[in-house]
Amino acid sequence: MSTTKNSDARSSREKAPAGERVADWADGRLGIYSLAKANMRKIFPDHWSFMLGEVCMYSFIIIILTGVYLTLFFHPSMNEVEYHGSYIPLQGQLMSEAFNSTMHISFDVRGGLLIRQIHHWAALIFLAGMFVHMMRVFFTGAFRKPREVNWLFGFLLFVLGMFTGFTGYSLPDDLLSGTGVRFMEGAVLSVPVVGTYLSFFLFGGEFPGGDFVARFYSVHVLLLPGIMLGLMVAHLILVFYHKHTQFAGPGKTNNNVVGMPLLPVYMAKAGGFFFLVFGVIAVISAIATINPIWSMGPYRPDQVSTGAQPDWYMGFSEGLIRVMPGWEINFWGHTLVLGVFIPLMIFPLVLVAIAVYPFIESWVTGDKREHHILDRPRNVPTRTAFGVAWITWYMVLLIGGGNDLWATHFHLSINAITWFVRIAFFVAPVLAFIVTKRICLGLQRRDKDKVLHGRESGIIKRLPHGEFIEVHEPLSQEALHTLTAHEQYEPAMIGATVDENGVERKVKGTEKLRAKLSKSYYGEDSQIPKPTAEEYKEITSGHGHH
């Protein structure tokens, strides 16, 4: 209202500058003034790891832009055609129109190969970025209240990204991706009772049929990216709404955000960073080949090549299949292919294990407060150990997925690698958990030592009576605050089992489990009590050395 009044008053005197008039016109119709006012000064904290999400968003935008270009030339059809393009070693070969048009994009469309490579490299980097972004959020505890839902949105984006990638690299209908689609069909077929029906439904009949490229195309360019775009917007809105988390430090509390305003600082930084991301991906795409379909040739179900792996984000499913013993059960003429069905069941479990962790942790701690200050991973040893164990699990499966290349490049037996992965699948996460926890506790002790005794200065002093001591420099107040800002939980106990009237109540099993877990999280063996002010005073007030 007041703006209208102002402009009315002014128009009687003089004409407002053009920019102001445009802004006024827009505000009158879109109401952006209050929106801009509320968000222009939105504060974001500065840390390189907070830019990982930006890497993901920018590579997603790059994927969409290049993807649109590719759709202009790609024919999602499985009609058989004869190749007569520029690439000599495939002249006259029969192939689907999908493969033919991808060859056309690669060799005969101006900039086509570069765009294709940007699209594919950006996809690999997008998924890798999401993985690292997710781990950053995990290890710093940024998933805690109020951000659990946003954690799930991010997780869904990662999973949808995996399947968008899968449907994408399957589109050219080359020998490698065709083998991947065959792999997927095999997994579908292994589902008891409905597997065969599902497979016929997906492929419109017997594999490979003439439909799947067109179907994957709709899923790849419309359905999945549409959902992802929506989720990404929701993800960002929630980041705005929750405000960004920050690491502990002087002046940083649970109720403020210390950093720079969105405008102009972050607009400039983020805009510049977009071009840097685009630049890095473009350089990589210009110098390194990805998915050379001309080398692989068109898909034919009777052909297969060694070294047939999916893109990295699907690699752990390949590992599950490769190391699983080929068990099967036959009864009444029906076969239950456990060798494929069990990996198919473990596949979502691997992903869900990390997705549900925030809810398990909040149940164990019983903490219902909001958290906007990030944890240092060492200060939450059990969570950190769980995260490292999960990554180890994932990596072990990736080794299994690439077992043939490990064998040829390190001159090992593929059978030995497979057995290593089978054992490590169960053992390595446990070892990683124990080792990580010990390392975290060691680092906590180190922090405590630093706070109480100061930093080792490297100066050796000889005292008059001949003794040598090392001079420790006290830390700055800022450093002391940062090292002791974290809060430490007490292990949750089972509440009183006898009420005021002396009536004993039954203790539920879940209650006992929770107390046990809480003890393993916050018991004496799981955290080093942080130095108290009294301890600090006592030590620093004492004269001389210790």
């Binding site: 500065d46 070969q93 980097i125 890798a128 510049g272 390194a288 040739g297 792996q309 990295w312 064998a407």
Partner: protein, 259 residues
């Protein structure tokens, strides 16, 4: 005196007889050269091969019989340095430096060929990739060879540490012989399975996609090994570079100036 006369007559008679019946034809002379080659080959064989394959090529517990393997097998195994093999080797006998001259290999081959008929060493026009159908070769390669040797012959793993080697830089003649004879774990593709022309097409395909002169249209080939090396590259150089950039950008923040 009579004795001298008799001797002269006898000498003249034998000389005349010799000149009348002595072999003069070209073929006869060749046979001599051939048998000489075989003898030489046998000599080389007894030094370099007999300890494992037996004195007559009949095979022992350390090496298979060589009767009927043919000259092509000898030429492939010895010229690529696989034979003679070390007394103890890993899962598979690797390619190594060849210590025999081509003449010596031919002698060895002639000796082994004399033990029983087998495929002979191909002539240059049999394996010369010129004028062959590259695309057909590619199709045949993907159907018959790619399972072990990868799409473009970059090699792959077999069970228990065995492997199908990378085919880059392998002499076309040796590729031909390998298909013909099926060394070690490789199945053999005799002319009844893969015709002479098919073999030539395959050689031409490999020459086009996996030789030193092969042009990679998309830039660095990353080993031609598929998504595993691509994934590693994306993580290390892609995300690695982006994280480095992020650290760099974050380090250059607009800081309040200290007054």
């Amino acid at each position: 005196m009579a004795a001298v006369v008799v001797l002269l007559i006898a000498l003249a008679a034998i000389g005349g007889l010799y000149s009348a019946v002595a072999p003069t034809g070209q073929a006869k002379a060749d046979e001599t050269a051939q048998s000489l080659t075989i003898t030489e080959g046998q000599r080389l064989y007894s030094v370099g091969c007999a300890s494992c394959h037996g004195t007559g090529g009949q095979g022992t517990s350390d090496g298979p019989s060589l009767v009927g393997v043919g000259a092509a097998a000898v030429d492939f195994q010895v010229a690529t340095g696989r034979m003679p093999a070390a007394t103890s080797q890993g899962a598979q006998i690797p390619k190594k430096k060849n210590i025999y001259s081509q003449a010596e290999i031919d002698q060895l081959a002639a000796y082994i060929a004399s033990l029983g008929t087998g495929p002979s060493v191909p002539t240059e026009e049999q394996y010369d990739p010129d004028g062959a159908d590259i695309a057909k070769g590619g199709e045949l390669f993907r159907t018959n060879c790619a399972q072990c040797h990868n799409f473009t012959g970059k090699g792959g793993a077999l069970t228990h540490g065995k492997f199908a080697p990378d085919l880059e830089g392998v002499d076309p003649k040796h590729i031909y012989e390998a298909m013909q004879t099926g060394p070690q774990n490789m199945p053999s593709f005799p002319d009844t399975t893969l015709s002479e022309k098919n073999k030539k097409d395959i050689i031409a395909y490999l020459d086009a996609v996996n030789s030193e002169d092969t042009v990679e249209p998309g830039g660095l080939g990353l080993g031609g090994l598929g998504p595993v090396s691509e994934g590693l590259f994306a993580w290390i150089f892609g995300l690695g570079a982006l994280i480095a950039v992020a650290v760099w950008v974050a380090a250059r923040t607009a800081k309040a100036k200290k007054s």
